[in-house]
């Protein structure tokens, strides 16, 4: 076989203490579609960013047809014919299609005269080649998401890209648009372009890929030929790791047997704006209900519905057995629902306010009757939670922004525990948190459940969601597609999240 078109050899990359890639080997032949598969956080995006020159690897070599590319920056990647089509097209929304194409393809030259006719003609040609019926003078903001993707692909074709990376290109496409995209991918392959295809949807991989490489925890754990692929094997490769972390023990009797009414029950809850469809579930006091699923499966969106941020437009929400309408976060708080948002969004705490003020922020009406702040009471409350949750801070007066991620997360948790909630929704509570703080948060969550809280735990970390939950709901495309018993094998959860074997697993 000829030297591969592009070859990543033993790529390693760390961000601070996080080892994103710890030895990835990946090669792509000309005229091949090579799929890249892996859980959230397995290192796919980091690898793409290295391929496009956005990040430089700490170790490892990138070769193109046998030649070491050396230090690869964005300009060099472009020069070597590496193009990437992101899930969210990175086009200039206010410029027209032809201007966007020109910006990508023409070397920047501020003084040269623009030949508008040539630009327009080229845009027409390229759009035709990818089968897009888009007028070149259309402003990009008027285009739909799939149309914008086509423009991106047209740019890649125009640049005569030899390596085209597609990052979940079908995430927002309809069936028909998918088919057209597949046609374009095959067309690229036939012309000798190498395509790196990233997708969570196994059926696409079966339909398109010549080979599949699986990433897990920043390592390439296997490359399979299309003929050898079978579902079970792929899924096992993706999740096949030992539970490297110990989780606090689950209680003996599953809380599901509890005679009390569910703390929270959803009946066919939908929200068009949030993309939540027809979700029914019940969470009992003392239970940790895990919500697994891929990024974008609708878990955070469901949490936002329950907390009144994007109110439901269909179905029924019952709190302690009584139907309630939740229109705003305040309604939710009044019903005893607390929501600790994803740390990543950095809206869990107000960074500029001191710890004490962050803790009291959601209970002003209770802590400060009449509206006068009582600093003593506030301080005492904050000190109680600092001790209880082992928050590492110089004191209640330290600005929350000065704390580490894990401790900020604990402050956010403290704020909601201060409301004495009945239902606690945790959205990725341990994301970006170091290992020590992570197991502390696990211990706290377990204690809270044992004290009678109903906990909904959203997590993309499979071992976490399996190790912590009494039951595991799996979401996919805005729907709750499966509810699995505690300690379900990771393979089962992953196949439900990927949309395989829904029927057998639903409980």
């Amino acid at each position: 076989m000829a030297a591969p078109l592009i070859h990543f050899k033993n790529i390693r990359k760390s961000f601070g203490a996080v080892r994103a890639l710890r030895g990835v080997n990946f090669d792509l032949q000309a005229g091949e579609v090579h799929a890249l598969l892996g859980e959230n956080g397995a290192g796919k995006s980091t690898l793409i960013k290295i391929a496009t020159g956005a990040h430089q690897p700490d170790e490892g070599v990138i070769e193109m047809e046998g030649h070491d590319l050396g230090r690869l920056g964005p300009a060099a990647a472009k020069r070597h014919g590496i193009a990437c089509i992101y899930q969210q097209p990175a086009l200039f929304q206010d410029l027209t299609v032809m201007e966007n194409i020109a910006l990508r393809l023409d070397p920047p030259s501020p003084t040269r005269r623009i030949n508008w006719n040539a630009r327009k003609q080229r845009a027409i040609d390229l759009l035709q080649r990818v089968g897009a019926e888009i007028a070149p003078q259309t402003e990009v903001r008027e285009l739909s998401m799939p149309e914008q993707q086509l423009v991106e692909i047209a740019c890649a074709v125009g640049a005569e890209a030899r390596v085209v990376i597609m990052d979940e290109p079908t995430a927002s496409l309809t069936r028909q648009e998918q088919e057209r995209l597949f046609g374009i991918v095959r067309e690229l392959r036939n012309r000798g372009v190498g395509v790196i295809y990233i997708s969570h949807r196994l059926e696409e991989i079966f339909a398109l890929a010549d080979r599949v490489t699986v990433l897990r925890d920043g390592e390439s754990v296997g490359t399979l030929l299309a003929g050898d692929i079978d579902e079970t094997r792929l899924i096992r490769l993706m999740v096949g790791r030992e539970m490297e972390q110990l989780y606090p023990p689950l209680r003996d009797a599953p809380a599901t047997e509890d005679a009390r009414p569910a703390a929270l029950q959803l009946r066919n809850v939908s929200c068009a704006a949030g993309g939540v469809r027809d979700v029914s579930l019940a969470v009992r006091p003392g239970e940790v209900f895990g919500l697994a699923g891929l990024v974008g499966a609708g878990r955070t969106e469901l949490a936002r519905v329950l907390f009144g941020l994007t109110p439901a437009d269909g179905g029924e929400i019952l709190v302690q057995g009584v139907a309630k309408i939740i229109r705003s976060p305040r309604d939710a708080v009044d019903l005893g629902i607390a929501y600790v948002p994803e740390d990543r969004r950095r809206h869990g705490v107000v960074l500029e306010l001191p710890v004490a003020q962050n803790v009291s922020l959601a209970i002003h009406r209770r802590l400060f009757r009449g509206g006068w702040l009582r600093f003593g009471a506030e301080r005492k409350l904050a000190e109680k939670f600092i001790a209880q949750l082992a928050i590492k801070t110089s004191g209640p007066d330290a600005a929350a922004g000065n704390l580490s991620g894990g401790n900020q997360q604990k402050v956010a948790l403290a704020r909601w525990l201060a409301t004495e909630p009945k239902i606690l929704i945790l959205d990725e509570p341990t994301q970006g948190v170091d290992v020590g703080a992570k197991s502390e948060i696990h211990r706290i969550v377990r204690q809270l459940a044992e004290s009678g809280l109903a906990v909904i735990l959203i997590s993309s970390d499979l071992p976490e969601v399996i190790g912590m939950s009494d039951r595991i709901g799996v979401m996919r495309g805005g729907r709750l597609t499966a509810v699995l018993p505690r300690k379900s094998p990771a393979e089962t959860v992953m196949s439900a999240a990927l949309g395989r074997g829904d029927e057998g697993a639903a409980a």
């Binding site: 941020l309 809206h347 869990g348 107000v350 960074l351 500029e352 003020q357 002003h364 400060f368 006068w372």
Partner: protein, 309 residues
């Protein structure tokens, strides 16, 4: 050091006073100082309101026009021989209504406050010109200094302004609503996730700003026999300058009214101080500008330090 910024502005003000005491002791004469303070008192109130606005991550550049409109309204009502409390109340109410209009456009429609208040600034100013044709409004005889002797009247104006300002400062620190202003200003989404109602807070801040402007216009009107329909020109810029110099972050959520008080005092004294130091008056604007620039640069450097920590 805690509140370093507030102390450094207060320190600069102190240095200015010491320099004046040594070089130009003539500055410290009772009557001119009293007049200066009374003249500046209304803008101190506006500055207090502006601090609320900026803390909540908004801006209001229509206060100068509101000020003129409220003043003229008060003058016309006083001309109808309405009792003084009614006139004062109407003036404050007029301001609150104008503020509420800004507030609705910003909070309910989600429009950027700089654009909204730019529009209302021009609208009120030009509307007033069209309506009054630039005519001064004569006030009835008893109204100037509320019929008190001038010195008593001036003292009254100063006391009212200081009391209002202090009340604002205390409220901002001691009342839950004040804390909401900080929370909304530093992270609106986080405030919403905490169950607060950021839009209501924003609306309330604009109404407060308007009411305070109305009060300031009243305190200004009673200082002269006539109301100038062009009064308040440039007031918004002076208020914003004092707030920024006083250490309130233009990005909201950070700063205190004590710093703003120091900033307002410092800026108010620059021009008269220069006169006493025999520096040409046209330097005063340049020096004020430099102080503002210095304050912003200091904030920028501090922000960078925080960001890289």
């Amino acid at each position: 050091m805690k509140a370093f910024r507030e102390w450094s502005v207060a320190g600069a003000f102190g240095v200015l006073l010491v320099v004046l005491a040594i070089v130009a002791p003539s500055f410290f004469q009772f009557q001119p100082l009293l007049s200066l303070a009374a003249r500046e008192a209304p803008s101190l109130i506006v500055t207090g309101g502006m601090a609320l606005i900026i803390l909540s991550r908004q801006i209001d550049i229509s206060v100068g026009s509101q000020f003129a409109l409220c003043g003229v309204t008060a003058g016309l009502l006083a001309g109808q021989n309405l009792p003084l409390p009614v006139v004062a109340l109407a003036c404050i109410l007029a301001g609150a209504v104008l503020g509420a209009l800004n507030g609705v456009l910003v909070a309910a429609l989600g429009l950027p406050s700089i654009v909204v208040t730019l529009a209302t600034m021009v609208a009120w100013r030009e509307g007033l010109r069209w309506w009054r044709q630039g005519q001064f409004v004569d006030l009835p005889d008893g109204l100037q200094w509320l019929g008190m002797p001038q010195q008593t009247g001036q003292a009254f104006v100063i006391v009212v302004a200081l009391v209002i300002f202090c009340a604002l400062a205390v409220a901002l620190r001691k009342i839950a609503l004040g804390r909401f202003v900080y929370a909304v200003g530093s992270d609106e989404e986080a405030a919403r996730l905490a169950g607060l109602r950021p839009r209501l807070v924003t609306f309330g801040v604009f109404v407060t700003m308007g009411a305070l402007t109305g009060l300031a216009a009243m305190l200004n009107a009673i200082q002269s026999p006539q109301v100038d329909p062009k009064s308040g020109t440039g007031l918004e810029l002076r208020a914003i300058a004092a707030v920024v110099v006083g250490g309130v972050a233009i990005s909201g959520g950070r700063g205190s009214l004590w710093g703003v008080l120091a900033g307002a005092l410092l800026l108010a004294c620059i021009a008269p101080a220069l006169t006493h130091l025999h520096v040409e008056a046209y330097w005063s604007r340049a020096i004020e500008g430099s102080i503002i620039l210095l304050a912003v640069v200091a904030d920028g450097i501090r922000q960078r330090k925080v960001a890289t920590k």
